[in-house]
């Protein structure tokens, strides 16, 4: 079955239970996980990503589009993530950041450059390929980060409070853009946030942690 499924997921640290979650997110749907800081929201995302620090122990299974990915290395899972900060690679140009995410299957310099240019144009940043990411505005960075993630063709998207640093005006705009594109691509989305407005805007189920 399509979508992201967390089956009996339990995370403990030094034997102390931290997070337990049973969830199923259909393609194009959003599950919001809410909780105060320290409730293990980010740890949950790490577990799904496969980047859980060794001091944590995890049981349960993660299914994505019918495949069990619990044992797979992070780079093979095709789970995309957006953090609070854009985390654009500062040593690469804007175009370079996008190309980093572009699958190898897209061959040839010209073809890759064309895909990058198209992606930039799609979010209103045409001609930005050679720019230094440090010179972009906050909204521009957010759009580059999103397109970089989407170019990698993920099968699911995790959002780690991605809007909390943006000011109010920009926030709604970026939030709308992210959800719209995730829906358009039919991605199951797991959003962790401590902001009820984010969860409300997502429109899906809400789970409280902690």
């Amino acid at each position: 079955m399509a979508g992201l499924r967390l089956e009996g997921l339990r995370i403990t640290r030094a034997g102390v239970p931290l997070v337990a979650l049973e969830a199923e997110i259909a393609p194009g749907e959003v599950l919001s996980v809410m909780g105060p800081s320290g409730s293990g929201k980010s740890t949950l995302l790490s577990a799904i990503m496969g980047t859980l620090a060794p001091s944590f122990a995890m049981t349960g299974l993660v299914w994505l589009d019918g495949c069990e990915i619990t044992r797979q290395p992070p780079e093979a899972r095709r789970v995309g993530i957006l953090y609070q900060e854009e985390l654009l690679f500062p040593h690469l140009s804007v175009g370079g950041n996008l190309a980093f995410g572009l699958p190898r299957a897209v061959r040839g310099r010209a073809a890759r450059a064309a895909r990058v240019a198209a992606a930039l144009a799609e979010v209103g940043l045409a001609g930005f390929a050679d720019r230094d990411p440090a010179t972009l505005s906050g909204g521009q960075k957010a759009r580059v980060a999103l397109m970089r993630m989407l170019l990698a063709e993920p099968l699911a998207l995790l959002l780690d409070e991605p809007f909390s640093r943006l000011d109010a005006g920009l926030r709604a705009q970026v939030r709308e853009m992210v959800f719209a594109r995730a829906r358009a691509r039919g991605l199951p989305v797991l959003l962790v946030t401590h902001d009820a407005a984010d969860a409300a805007a997502a429109g899906g189920c809400v789970v409280e942690l902690g």
Binding site: M49, T51, R77, R78, V79, P90, H91, S93, F100, G101
Partner: protein, 561 residues
């Protein structure tokens, strides 16, 4: 993936193998076992001979006194300066000068200082005869004074930059700006507030570097020969003299002295630790007593003045060397040489080419090996979630804490037995023991401070661990990687005893050249060699600073940090 897992173990082996082997090789003759000289049975005779040396009390007092004084003064200058000037332009200015200062070899700095403060030195010349009336140098015991004050000064000017670098590296982890904000808001003066609110946590971070300074100052040889007293000399110098004595039976006594040197260092470290505990208690009482301002203005100025003095002394000393390297006849009390020419450079320069290349080779290879091992360790730490404990940090510092005279001669014996000595390769491995800790210490903090979410993002974009390492982490951390390399390079350039002992004298670097020339006391020859040595060390730093700027000229995000 498998070999990476073994990296920490290999690194420890590279570090501790030579130290342990060397200590065993020193301990044996100290206990009378040295078959080539007929010592076949355990005996306390070497220890007894050492105890019978009439200069022993004086030499021991000097080693301990100079070591403690140099460490206390260096630490005090650094603490006062950072307390008073954290986050100011003066601090930023000195930070700029730090790297070049660090790359000045100890011997070169000591030569420069000696020329500055000697009765026939630059300061006396500048003031004579108009202010002092001296037509000839006064007969004053300034350099080589019995208390070792000149030696303490020579050590302080080199240890201040080192401790300052370590302090600046430790500072961000304790969030000084927030702490100071709170302290200032509570009405504390800048220095008092810093000492009470920030220093205790910073000190916990720089404790091991301080220990390294103490151990080094107690057992240094080259600086002691240039600036220290000779009647008697510090213990380490006497040990080296005994080892160089034509009377081969003194080797036993020398080994006993080396073991005593090690014991002294351990004892002094214990004493220092005790001092930490006592001062820590007193400090807590002081902090809780609530005094808001205690001589803040004066302390601030003192911190700046002393830091500038220490920095200025090295720079002025180097300038003096520069002048001597081009001086013709330069009699006292002239402040400037009568004639200036390139003669000394033309005479000594060509001969420095081969040792210069050798220096580059060895320093380059040792640094590259160290960097590879350190990166492998740090990457293994990251991939396998290894948590480096306090103990592993101690092990890392071990080669810096054990006096060189206590293990290098023993190590030479082992290398000979294994038949791996004499070559450049053996010297490179010998340098690695000292280069590796510095590279690790320089790189570990920025490497670990790197935002791990970049790795998560890259992995989510489909990049495997190797690609994340090569294409994301390494390029982003290029500047600290190169800085760590430059530190390691400079450390290698400055090594004397390991090069001499492991190289069997056949491997000649600028430093062995400089120390050999120092025996002759020809200031012009010394100046040329010491400057060449300094330039090579500085070139590494210049490259480390320039490369990221050129490579990332268009990347503002990499230049801020």
């Amino acid at each position: 993936m498998r070999p990476l897992r073994g990296a920490p173990l290999l690194t420890l082996l590279v570090l501790l193998g030579p130290v342990t082997a060397g200590l065993v090789g020193t301990l044996a003759p100290a206990l009378g076992v040295f078959p080539a000289l007929g010592g076949r049975a355990l005996s306390l005779a070497p220890m007894a001979a050492l105890a019978a040396w009439p200069g022993l009390p004086g030499a021991v007092m000097l080693s301990v006194g100079v070591g403690l004084a140099a460490t206390v003064v260096s630490l005090a200058i650094v603490v006062l300066f950072v307390a008073g000037w954290q986050g100011t332009r003066a601090m930023a200015g000195l930070e700029q000068a730090l790297a070049p200062l660090l790359s000045v070899p100890h011997a070169a700095a000591a030569f420069g200082l000696a020329f500055l403060i000697a009765p026939s030195g630059w300061i006396a010349r500048a003031l004579s005869p108009w202010a002092t009336g001296w037509e000839r140098p006064p007969d004053l015991l300034i350099v080589q004074d019995p208390l070792g004050l000149a030696m303490v000064a020579g050590l302080v000017v080199k240890e201040v930059p080192f401790l300052l670098l370590m302090t600046l590296a430790a500072l961000p982890q304790v969030r000084p700006a927030q702490r100071m904000g709170v302290a200032r808001a509570l009405g504390y003066g800048p220095v008092t507030g810093w000492l009470k609110a920030v220093f205790p946590c910073v000190y916990a971070q720089i404790r091991l570097p301080v220990y390294a300074v103490l151990a080094y100052s107690m057992s240094v040889v080259d600086v002691a020969i240039i600036l220290g007293p000779g009647t008697p000399p510090p213990l380490s110098v006497q040990v080296v003299r005994w080892m160089a004595d034509p009377d081969l039976t003194l080797r036993f006594q020398a080994a006993a002295g080396a073991v005593l040197q090690l014991a002294l260092v351990i004892g002094a470290l214990g004493l220092w630790r005790l001092g930490e505990v006592v001062l820590g208690r007193l400090g807590r009482v002081w902090a809780e007593a609530g005094a808001r301002r205690q001589g803040d203005g004066v302390l601030r100025l003192a911190g700046l003045g002393l830091a500038m003095l220490a920095t200025g002394a090295v720079i002025a000393g180097l300038a003096g060397l520069g002048l001597w390297s081009v001086a013709g006849l330069w009699p006292f009390p002239e402040a400037w040489p009568e004639t200036v020419s390139a003669r000394s450079w033309l005479r000594h320069g060509p001969g420095l080419l081969a040792p210069g290349l050798e220096t580059l080779w060895i320093a380059g290879a040792a640094t590259a090996l160290a960097l590879a091992l350190v990166l492998a360790c740090l990457e293994a730490e990251h991939r396998f979630g290894l948590v480096p404990g306090a103990r592993s940090l101690w092990l890392l510092y071990l080669p810096l804490l054990v006096p060189q005279v206590a293990f290098l001669p023993g190590l030479q014996g082992f290398a000979l037995m294994l038949g791996v000595d004499m070559g450049r390769g053996a010297v490179i491995l010998g340098h690695l023991v000292f280069v590796l800790p510095y590279v690790f210490l320089s790189l570990a903090a920025p490497w670990r401070a790197w935002d791990m979410r970049y790795a998560s993002v890259a992995a989510a974009l489909g990049a495997g661990r190797g690609r994340v390492f090569r294409q994301v982490r390494l390029p982003m951390l290029l500047a600290p990687v190169l800085t760590a390399a430059a530190v390691g390079f400079a450390v290698s350039v400055g090594q004397y005893l390991p090069t001499l002992l492991i190289g069997g004298g056949r491997v000649q670097t600028l430093t062995t050249e400089a120390v050999a020339l120092a025996a002759g006391g020809d200031r012009r020859a010394i100046a040329v060699t010491a400057l060449a040595q300094t330039l090579v060390g500085m070139a590494g730093f210049a490259l480390a600073l320039a490369a990221p700027r050129i490579l990332w000229a268009n990347r503002r995000g990499l230049r801020a940090g």
